[in-house]
Symmetry: C2
Subunit: 350 residues, 2 copies
DNA sequence: GTTAGCACTCGAATGCATTGAGTGCCAAAG
DNA sequence: CTTTGGCACTCAATGCATTCGAGTGCTAAC
């Protein structure tokens, strides 16, 4: 079923005008302002009739009998799916994203931190970057670094160009020389193994090498057993205070809800993932507070896109703001940023 | 000058009652409730006279002519300096801090994250931990880990048991074998050097070793030059959303001010440091919004304490909340936590 | 199908009286 | 000289009635 066909040309342009006006003014929009906005030769009364139809069909909503109208979830959804035309970024903005991202090219971690910063800076909203999915990361290199006789830093460089540090304590003293040999052993045997399966992989390979390198393998196994199990994908946030700029969060309770959401990283990841799942063939997805995947937090909207390393999508980025967000601008931003990030990370991993 | 002598016994106990009542109720306190609170055989009228004196002396304040009174900065200051008796933590709370901190004993970074979490959890306020001052950190061990032919991870374990990762890109390809030799060279020559002076120290020692190990030293120098200069001490925050629970931050503008402060890490570090400087011989310091060192953010209070590695104070922890804070409880918490943290980090570094 | 006109609705703003917690002050008591 | 009871006074908060105005819904005419 093509919802696009449901609305007449006039209804479409009026819905569009309502959304756009509401987004900029944050106030319910009336028939007169619509006429002004469209510059058309129709009277407010006509607009009122159409708006009434749109309300009946569930696209608009009145806060009280004699007020202007405001888009409903359905109205926003229609707008972002069919009416919005993505507003290109300016050349300056593109250039800025490109230079400020490539500056930090060295370090995947820093690239992602900087990405969230840029998203926030340019959109004046909250920028979100979810780090590459741990489950796809593979071991590029392992290093064991003695800290004290019993404490050892296990350093794992993964296929995304990130370096992770875990510190493990063992019962008995380990000599630096031994750690050096174990390191070499691990690098010879574990490159390309999924990071999550480091310990279990080693167990498997142990069987093969058990005779010749029994001692080394034992030691390595002991160390890797101590690694904490993988936490959920890292998340980078920036610009959370921009939320305070919007009138919908004047009420502290509302603001609090959103801040609570942002503190629960798994929930944020969950939302972004849901967005990816529901996404059509578009590169960006828009999630609206109140819709199925966003139970529990109304009032917000998220523009999200996935980024890839090579051809494989590995994580999400997004911009979170009030549901009343300038989607056309933000969509362009998120789309372009995701493309740039993909390119950079691919180069880093390659 | 001993300010303690300035006030009569009655004035002292009434000031104390005002602060305590105001802290729990968040409402201006009147003469009747004070009488009830103190359970004394004096009449409200007497209390009113005394309160009037206290107001004239600047310890109390009326919001409007016919309302109850509220402590001023000076009033709070007197209270925390002379009237407050620290309320011991319960055994359960002590036990909790101890077990939940020692659990993560391995990793200084995690210990500090956990510390901020505990501070927030137990106080129901915002917990702050400032990582050990970078300027005192010394190199314990260095490792170079090849990521690609041109990208190298420089790993530095410092004397506080932390491991830092920097990724540097060099112009020309570096063989793993070479990096191994450079690593050994660095560890032989740079242990104990202040982390900040890594690059310059190497330059100095280069002159000595220039003949025999010219090539190695050159290579090492090139890599270390690329390290980013040290950013200010890391900061760990937790429980920022607790701020929303207090009526003083019902007004979004107020809340926003504090969140902005918390986003500017250097400013937070600056406040804590100022606290350390002003501190008397007490182990904890209390900073009150509006006072000299806290220009620009009213309405908040901070209880801070320094922690040490060995005998040397290296960083600060604190709890931030509304100025109307239960200082006696929070002070006990911060004090005990700082002691525990010192003990753990000393053990880690030792 | 579109428009002008008009009655109607309802939130927001304004004015006004009431209430009550709390003070300041004074004169009397201790 | 300190303390107390009494009393007038102040001021925020509350409730209520009124007004104002943006905006609608409806109907009759175009």
């Amino acid at each position: 079923m093509n919802r696009e066909a449901d609305l007449s040309e006039r209804e479409r342009s009026i819905l569009q005008a309502v959304v756009q006006l509401y987004v900029t003014t944050a106030e319910a929009v009336g028939s007169r302002s619509i006429v002004k906005r469209l510059g058309l030769e129709i009277s407010p009364a006509t607009v009122r009739n159409t708006m009434s139809d749109l309300e009946e069909a569930g696209y608009l909503q009145q806060l009280h009998t004699s007020s202007g109208r405001v888009p409903t979830d359905k109205g926003y959804r229609y707008y972002v799916d069919y009416l919005m035309h993505v507003q290109e970024l300016t050349i300056q903005e593109r250039a800025r994203i490109e230079t400020e991202l490539t500056e930090r090219l060295d370090d995947a971690d820093q690239v992602m931190r900087q990405t969230s910063h840029l998203l926030a800076l340019i959109s004046h909203q909250t920028g979100i970057v979810e780090g590459p999915d741990e489950s796809d990361a593979r071991v590029n290199r392992v290093e064991l670094m003695p800290l004290t006789t019993t404490r050892t830093a296990v350093l794992i460089a993964d296929s995304y160009g990130r370096v992770r540090t875990h510190i493990v304590t063992s019962d008995r003293a380990l000599e630096a020389e031994l750690l050096g040999r174990v390191t070499r052993f691990l690098n010879d045997n574990l490159r390309g193994v999924p990071v999550e399966k480091l310990a279990s992989s080693l167990q498997t390979r142990l069987r093969i090498f058990v005779d010749e390198q029994h001692h080394l393998a034992e030691e390595a196994s002991r160390l890797l057993q101590l690694l904490p199990s993988q936490r959920a994908g890292q998340i980078y946030l920036d610009g959370t205070t921009h939320l305070f700029e919007h009138p919908e969060f004047r009420d502290v309770e509302r603001a609090r809800e959103v801040f609570n959401l942002l503190e629960e990283r798994e929930r944020v990841v969950g939302l972004l993932r849901a967005g990816l799942r529901d996404s059509t063939n578009m590169r960006t997805t828009i999630l609206l507070g109140g819709e199925a995947s966003m139970q529990g937090v109304d009032d917000i909207g998220i523009v999200a896109a996935s980024y890839s390393v090579g051809d494989k999508p590995v994580g999400m980025i997004g911009v979170l703001g009030p549901r009343r967000m300038p989607y056309s601008r933000v969509t362009a931003l998120v789309d372009y940023t995701a493309t740039m990030l993909s390119r950079l990370l691919t180069r880093l991993a390659g």
